[in-house]
């Protein structure tokens, strides 16, 4: 439990660092290096891809249930999000699909 508080502190400080850094370093958009601006545009997309893999890292494909709950629930999220653009709807539907499938299988 001690370690939990240490990790939470790390997350808090790292997040604060990232939020306050631009106000400490740069005076405006013009004085920010082009490379930094570029990273700002491309990193968000890449990081979300990384997070998706991170969440699914322990999915078991080679044995029962062969990743069926994950695949089905993920498909539900993708389809609903692409069609309705309603995050809450797709998140809730995907989660319920997953919970239902691991309960049934």
């Amino acid at each position: 439990m001690n370690n939990a508080y240490v990790l939470v502190l790390c997350m808090a400080l790292a997040t604060m660092l990232v939020r306050f850094l631009p106000f400490l370093l740069f005076h405006d958009e013009k004085s920010t290096p082009a490379y930094i601006m570029y990273l700002g545009k491309v990193l968000p997309g890449a990081v979300i891809g990384m997070l998706v893999v991170y969440c699914l890292r322990d999915t078991v494909i080679t044995a029962f249930p062969w990743g069926i709950p994950e695949i089905a629930a993920s498909a539900a999220v993708i389809i609903l999000q692409a069609k309705t653009h309603r995050s809450l709807l797709s998140i809730l539907s995907g989660t319920l699909t997953y919970m239902l499938l691991i309960h049934l299988l």
Binding site: P22, L39, P44, G49
Partner: protein, 229 residues
Amino acid sequence: MQNNTIRRALIRSLPVMAGYIVLGTGFGILMQKNGYGIVLSAAMSILIYAGSLQYVGVSLLASGASVLTTILTSLIINARHIFYGISMIGQYKNAGRKKPYLIFSLTDETYSILCDGSAEQEEDPDAFRFYLSLFNQSYWVIGTVFGALLGSVIPFSTAGIEFSMTALFIASFTEQWTTSSDHFPALCGLFSTLLCLLVFGSGNFLIPSMILITLILTLYRKKGGKNYE
């Protein structure tokens, strides 16, 4: 005058309320399910106040991640906040004593509302921004506490609720995909991480993934990412 500003900030924050309360509740339940209490959950929502990181944070805590992994993961997940900050330098210039909290509480949703011009129309834009930010965080914290309390009294099985985090990121990924013209960064993130997962295993692949992603995107800029300049 002050009451009107607060009222308008409240109204402007309502679209965020539903999302933050639901996701905050999900976070609280997830924490409770992993054996963490209300105090730690609330502390995270008050001190960190970053949804994606908090959700990933539950996994980091539960798997006993190292300090280094935690810090680097926090930095890369929240790296985009650097750019929110850069674009708010002008808006926050005259905020005085409210400035530290304004900077601290700049989340994706708060940022998008502050970029749509509502604040500039106010007589006291800084107060408007401050109260808007405060309302948004309060929804997040309320949801967290509610979820942490709820987690222990839910009569039915909540097995599988941790998928809400996966669903959150898949929804974000899909939304990003449908609205972006260049899919290379997203694919880079996906496949670099997958590769590192296979090579390093599920306990050690995050740091290599971040390094590989940054490397590839840096090379991409030289080879073909000119459309970002």
